[in-house]
């Protein structure tokens, strides 16, 4: 199992790579929910550097696109050294088609966030010979293990971080700014939260970027308790540090690199970053209506 991480500042690359097998980066023109948006030149430099270091580098192309936006993505692709990437993470099958037309279908990592919840749906691009896909974040460990046991290509899952649970094309925070009459658009600010009126103790991180508005789970999802189990089958465990910083990444990556929870470090991180860690949906089955009955 390889561990890949997001990154905030290029100066911290080597610190990140001490305990990570690679990084995942993007540009706000075609990526969503980034820690930092890197320019095309910076991304091409990173590709060269990571190739020299024999490390993995993935590019997030995980916005949803209309046809006119896809035209712009095609143009951006011409400036990027896509062949040097380990993989290209796409949320929209239209991007997969474009990459396939360019002979790069084998680099695609499909990540539709919520949709790959069973082994059949997970493997549905097998005949397309893609590089891999992300397992949905909202399923149990038992379901994850079933998918891992029957995978047809590389498996990815977010193993640590605030899990995204809402992606709207609407600029909901910008709209609210206008509603309350402030000039602050709050765009790309990673210090915003939402609190629901009946859940006053829970703060849901919210983020607006070029792609739209994103809302995340309040607790940080962690998989250190099951990392031994995952390691046997999972190909890439992703550490997503949005809302944190590179110091945080370095400390967390060390634990995942060692495959061991450092309880003292965890408690310190929870205190310093005002966060709590949990196991997400690993042991929590979401409710489906009773089959054959109405509720």
């Amino acid at each position: 199992m390889k561990i890949i991480s997001t990154i905030f500042k290029l100066d911290n690359l080597m610190s990140i790579l001490e305990n990570a097998d690679g990084i995942i980066v993007g540009n706000s023109n075609f990526s969503a929910r980034l820690t930092s948006s890197f320019s095309i030149e910076e991304i091409n430099d990173l590709i060269s550097k990571l190739n020299q270091l024999d490390k993995s580098i993935f590019l997030n192309v995980n916005q949803m696109f209309s046809d006119d936006q896809l035209d712009a993505v095609r143009k951006q692709f011409k400036s990027l050294n896509l062949h040097g990437l380990t993989g290209i993470v796409v949320a929209d099958l239209g991007v997969f088609r474009i990459l396939k037309q360019q002979g790069l279908g084998h680099k695609v990592v499909y990540n539709p966030e919520t949709l790959l919840t069973n082994y059949y749906d997970f493997n549905f691009l097998a005949s397309e010979h893609v590089y891999g896909a992300y397992i949905a974040k909202e399923i149990t460990l038992a379901d994850i293990m079933q998918i891992l046991n029957k995978k047809s290509y590389k498996t990815f899952m977010v193993g640590h971080g605030h899990l995204n649970m809402f992606y709207s094309k609407r600029k909901l925070i910008d709209n609210f700014s206008k509603f309350i009459g402030t000039d602050n658009t709050f765009k790309n600010q990673q210090n915003l939260t939402l609190t629901e009126e009946h859940r006053q103790n829970l703060n849901y991180p919210v983020f607006e970027d070029e792609a739209g508005t994103h809302v995340f789970r309040p607790a940080v999802f962690e998989t250190l308790s099951v990392v031994d189990q995952l390691e046997r089958q999972l190909d890439y465990l992703v550490v997503d540090t949005i809302f944190k910083d590179d110091d945080y990444a370095v400390k967390v990556l060390k634990m995942y690199h060692n495959r061991q929870l450092d309880l003292k470090e965890k408690e310190q991180l929870e205190k310093d970053y005002h966060e709590t860690w949990d196991d997400g949906f690993l042991y929590k089955k979401t409710i489906y209506k009773t089959r054959g009955q109405n509720d």
Partner: protein
Amino acid sequence: MIELLAPAGDLEKLKIALIYGADAVFIGGENFSLRARASNFTLTDIKEATMFAHKLKKKVYVTTNIIPHHEDMDDLIPYLKGLEEAEVDAIISASPFIVDTALKHTSLEVHLSTQQSSMNAETVNFWYERGVKRIVLARELSKQQIKRLVDKTKADIEVFIHGGMCMSYSGRCSLSNSMTDRDANRGGCAHSCRWNYELRQNGEKVSDETFSMSSKDLEALEQIPYLIEAGVASLKIEGRMKSLHYIATVVKVYRDLIDQYYLNKEIASFDQFLNELKKAENRLASFGYLEGMPGIEQQLYNQRSEKPTQLFVGIVKEYDHESKIAIVEQRNYFKTGDKLEIFSPDKALETFVVEEILDENNDIVEVARHPQQRLKMKIDHPVEEYAMLRKIDE
């Protein structure tokens, strides 16, 4: 001619939707369908539904649009074969597992659900080449983007024109999962995006105003001519949980609008259609993404809503042309002396004053207050089965 597609939560609503002008309806079966709280159809109901629709040369589509987990995958093939035997005209699916299984094991036509958020011609063609005949587009496209997409595909394109809006890309939202443990992609959506929130920055409240993700409903009256000319195959009304009166009103409005456009190639005024819709609507509405990125004008802050302008009080079950006595099933309170409007599938609106109400024993009833009570009343204008009576507030 472009298809008008309506929702139906039960057999009665299905019949009403078709009689009031829908070309096709979509319904949920007992399994593999979202909208768990909508009344879902048994295979026997579905058979009755297709027989009724096919007699009118209309169609029935069945939603099998959950994103399944492993335990949901059993019994899919027998269920799909049951739908095939019930002669449904298509299924609407989101999961590649269900799509591929239907295409491999049955002759069912498959439509791709909006849960897949198809946004561009490349995505649409991916599914079309896989065997999916029709794609229900994501709601996040402008009418110009839809036209461009239609021009670049052979797939039939279905577009939402009326009803509630998901705030997230459909299918890619797990607010409900996280906040209530209810799986939005398996029929349990708790509509958490419509709740009230507080926006904070660094833990401090940004404003005393309530933050809301919720938006006005979709209402695409003025965009219909453009969508027809763009080559869209089907116009979809959303809302399997909506009332009988809402379904009838909304369907009839769009039916009349489409027919008028095909006849005259223009719509002189949208006011009459808008006024009709207000008789059944209880949420504010706008045109969604069809005219471009929605701004503040489309958000619902402070949960504003409007009451329908007219109350649905009864539905005609029978009418005797000689005695001019109608059997009416009560749906809301009304009384002798009330002025009622007759709303029917094929006639212009007419009004009358209730002179006398009798129960089934011919006893006089001053006030009709019992839901679904069968009542007799004289209506001089000939009315037909399924005509609806609305109370006019004066």
